[in-house]
Symmetry: C2
Subunit: 221 residues, 2 copies
């Protein structure tokens, strides 16, 4: 392992009336910093990849970053290999995960994030696939991925758009709308404007309305 | 093909304050009639199969039917082979479908319903698995079935607990809470206390608030 992992896992792409990624734009800038110039965007979770890439490119341009969409590359694996930072956008989690498998990107993204330490940002479905598996998604299974195992960039699952108090798992966290999780090495920090409910293997079940630190040591990868 | 298929596909197992299957008990009696004495119950969609079978047995006893739960049989395939009628209860659709595959019941249930014409009743997840696939379920993928293809007892998909107007498919119907679909041969009749939204390949997209007939002729099985 070279650099420690760095992830910004956002619950949802828009907050009522706020525009695409508006509620987390300062977090994005502080997360990516000034060293990153270009972000590799993964639009697989939505059907219209061109339109999605335009929306994302416009937003990231306004924040001072160039954006390349992986669907415009003739060699997606090579695009990941050369990337400075990765952003996987929201949409349908099943469609997204299947496309990651179909394009053979799972191992390469894992390597870039866990070994090379490039920043990974996910929103909604992009947050879901960063976890152990997509078993906690609320999305419809509109396609059949070869597995529910996901990128495994963190050693727990997250339920973006968390609403349902019935869902219980010792290795699952629920991120409420507007919440985000900043992961740096083995430290996870909850951020954002709304309360979040977090129940990780390392912590008791608790409601958090402000920032806090939650070290996780049970990483199995 | 011997007898025409007969299915009663119920959207949900309980209506607010009505008790288990209370809102559809008259439909069940009229559907099963007096010839059926014993119903084979499939409790796979819930974790606690014993408790689920007790609940279902009690309800069916009150309606005049004996109930055998398939999980109490040492040979589930043989239980289906000998069954007079099948009722698959609600719960998690992924857990249910995986157990149907694990117990190798897909083909035998299809044969009994489509060739021998025994009555099939489904509620919620049990309605979902009666259709072409579970691609339209709202449930969480808590387990990974070997396929999303389901029993295919009708040539379309159904979204039980239908709420979401965004979901569009030419081969999908949405059954609102309290609604049920009675299928007899190639005729489908919408029943129940609430409106339903139905958009089948044979019909235009329409809201229905009363009963109506919808013949489907595109059955591909
Ligand atoms: Ca997950
Ligand atoms: Ca279905």
């Amino acid at each position: 392992m070279g650099c420690p992992r760095r992830l910004l896992l956002v619950s949802n792409s828009t907050m009522h009336g706020g525009g695409y990624l508006g509620h987390c734009q300062q977090h994005i800038q502080s997360f990516l910093g000034e060293k990153v110039k270009r972000v590799l965007f993964v639009p697989y979770a939505l059907h219209d990849r061109d339109a999605y890439a335009r929306t994302a490119r416009e937003k990231f341009a306004s924040l001072g970053y160039e954006l390349d969409s992986i669907h415009e590359s003739c060699d997606p694996v090579e695009a990941v290999r050369k990337s400075e930072a990765i952003f996987i956008g929201g949409g349908n989690t099943f469609r997204l995960l299947k496309a990651l498998y179909d394009n053979r990107l799972i191992q390469e993204i894992r390597k870039r994030v866990l070994e090379d330490g490039i920043p990974y940002m996910g929103s909604s479905a992009g947050t879901n696939v960063a976890t152990v598996s997509i078993n906690t998604t609320n999305d419809m299974p509109i396609v059949y991925p070869p597995s529910l195992q996901a990128l495994g960039l963190v050693p727990f699952n997250i339920n973006p758009h968390y609403l349902d108090p019935d869902v219980k798992s010792t290795h699952m966290g629920g991120l409420r709308e507007g919440a985000m999780l900043l992961v740096e090495g083995n430290k996870a920090t909850l951020q954002g404007v709304t309360g979040a409910r977090l129940f990780l293997s390392c912590c008791a079940v608790t409601d958090y309305s402000t920032e806090f630190d939650c070290p996780f040591t049970k990483a199995t990868f």
